[in-house]
Symmetry: C2
Subunit: 321 residues, 2 copies
DNA sequence: ATGAAAGCGCTAACAT
DNA sequence: ATGTTAGCGCTTTCAT
């Protein structure tokens, strides 16, 4: 019918007919059936976005970046959550691909063999995000978490700390947290140092866990002069606890987290951290899918550089211990 | 073909053929085309979930409740975010309905005329969530925010506070925050009281805003003996600021927030709050769509009861001012 | 500028 | 237990 032409603003349609169709559609409360449309046109304006979690502050911000870009295009994000579980990632990916989206943005470069095969055979642009330490299927946008850990270690050592503890998540499938820790240990090793203590948690309120783990670690290893947290939320918990106990931060004890979450702005003092470029990663990934990225639309490899923010919890050069 | 039968475990298929089809499918990396399937069967295993925001802690938790329930069913959630904007809600809803989902879960009971018309004509189960102060299109699961505000006011007055300030978001379209404030003022009015000061913010780090607004309000109205925050995040910022300044909480100044977010567990002391039953709301809404709710699948009206948690920031009966 | 017809890749109903 | 057929509601192409 001509109707189809009107609703998609295609082809030549006379003004009169157009108006008539439009008003009829509105009167009937007509909503076109995209299923049929997609089947006929072999085009689907959906972009699959697969992320491990929504409950921390990091992925929602990536999503915000993606949405900001896609809002300017006909594309729409559809998000799937894996809870850091490879089997769930497989399921979610399978479901998504069965809708034949225009592209997929997926967190991480580690995937099960089946997932990787699906991504490779999908025949659409794939962007793996967050992490660049690995071989991408197609495009890749992120930061090097290994390097982030490494540089934080160097900064800490440069500030004169040497007895260092690590506090993080107990997540075998959070590869980025793992890589940060490995990079961090590598950085310590450069200076002939090693982690003196470490502790991992899972589940629960991160702020509370940070508080509890800090207390436990300091009770166990009172000589530590620095604590590196695998994320800002537990770091903030630790910081609050130290402040409460009157511990001299950063003199007696230095602290650092990771992510650069907005939350930190509201703390009594600024926790040292490293910005993970979350929003920018989302923007870039979306641009690659939308085909508006200057870098192109396939095989792009983009490594962003996280900014180290010393804040108030690492000694500055002049400051004495 | 028989293939269709195998992939959907339907009808009688011999073991041998089944195996053959399955292995062939795997070898070819075959992913079925749900578009064609949906068109043919007139069934789509998608549930549209429309929420205003992902950047606070409240909606992700609702989503977690929804996912937990839908994971046991063939249904899959697809989320859309409106940023509290009615026009965006309209667009997102239109897009979703054009995929003919099995149901829609949507936050709030206030919608534009066009959105309401779409919901009414969709011919699928609709569940409006979070808020029960209004007339639903179909089903409704939530709490009464008006009553939540009212009861908080009563508790505060019962504890002996009388010079009360309000701090909240400047969001004309956050109807739930508005209703809480209205209910709160109603509660004050019962005791012949009224708000002595109020301040609203928008954007930025909520924790930081809470800190700044608290400082500003106390500078302006030093006689206040209670601050009611429209959410826990700004409440936490205010609490941290008070602790820092050595203000006697809850003796000299009482504080309360709203939501019952997990974050509060990690604070130096427990902020009074009211649990919004977020996870439970998500679960119930999903059950209604899935048809597994004992209440039925259409026209359900479910009001949950938020629990008041006095924490450490409201005086207990025995405590003196 | 408009209409007619084929067909997208499946499912459902009906053969066999 | 397996094969056959007619659509699902659009888009596309070709005709008028």
């Amino acid at each position: 019918m001509t109707v189809s032409r009107v609703l998609r603003n295609r082809g030549d349609v006379s003004k009169a007919t157009r108006e008539k169709v439009l008003s009829a559609a509105k009167a009937l409360g007509y909503v076109p059936n995209k299923i049929a449309g997609a089947l006929a046109s072999q085009r689907v304006n959906l972009v699959g976005v697969i992320i491990p979690s929504l409950s921390n502050m990091v992925f929602p911000e990536v999503l915000a970046g993606i949405s900001a870009v896609l809002d300017e295009t006909p594309l729409q994000p559809v998000v799937g959550v894996t809870n850091y579980r490879p089997e769930k990632e497989e399921r979610v990916l399978y479901e998504m691909l069965s809708w034949r989206p225009s592209g997929v943005i997926i967190a991480g470069v580690e995937h099960s063999a089946a997932s990787r095969a699906m991504l490779e055979n999908a025949g659409i642009p794939i962007v793996e995000i967050m992490d660049v330490d690995g071989e991408p299927v197609d495009s890749m946008v992120g930061i090097s978490h290994r390097r982030a850990g490494l540089e934080m270690a160097r900064a800490i050592i440069a500030a004169g700390y040497s007895r260092i503890g690590f506090l993080g998540t107990k997540m075998p499938d959070d590869h980025r947290a793992r890589k940060r820790m490995e990079g961090f240990e590598e950085g310590l090793a450069e200076a002939g140092l090693a982690l003196e203590d470490r502790e991992f948690y899972s589940g629960g309120s991160a702020l509370l866990k940070g508080r509890e783990m800090t207390e436990a670690m300091l009770a166990r290893s009172p000589d530590l002069d620095f604590l590196y947290y695998s994320n800002d939320m537990i770091g903030a918990g630790g910081l609050l606890w130290c402040l409460e106990k009157g511990i001299d931060v950063p003199g007696r004890l230095g602290l650092a987290g990771f992510n650069g979450v907005e939350l930190l702005d509201g703390l009594p003092c600024q926790l040292a951290t490293m910005d993970a470029c979350r929003r920018e990663i989302g923007r870039k990934a979306a641009e690659i899918i939308a085909g508006t990225a200057p870098e192109g639309a396939a095989g792009v490899r983009l490594e962003l550089t996280p900014r180290l923010e010393l804040g108030d919890t690492i000694r500055k050069p002049g400051q004495t211990a």
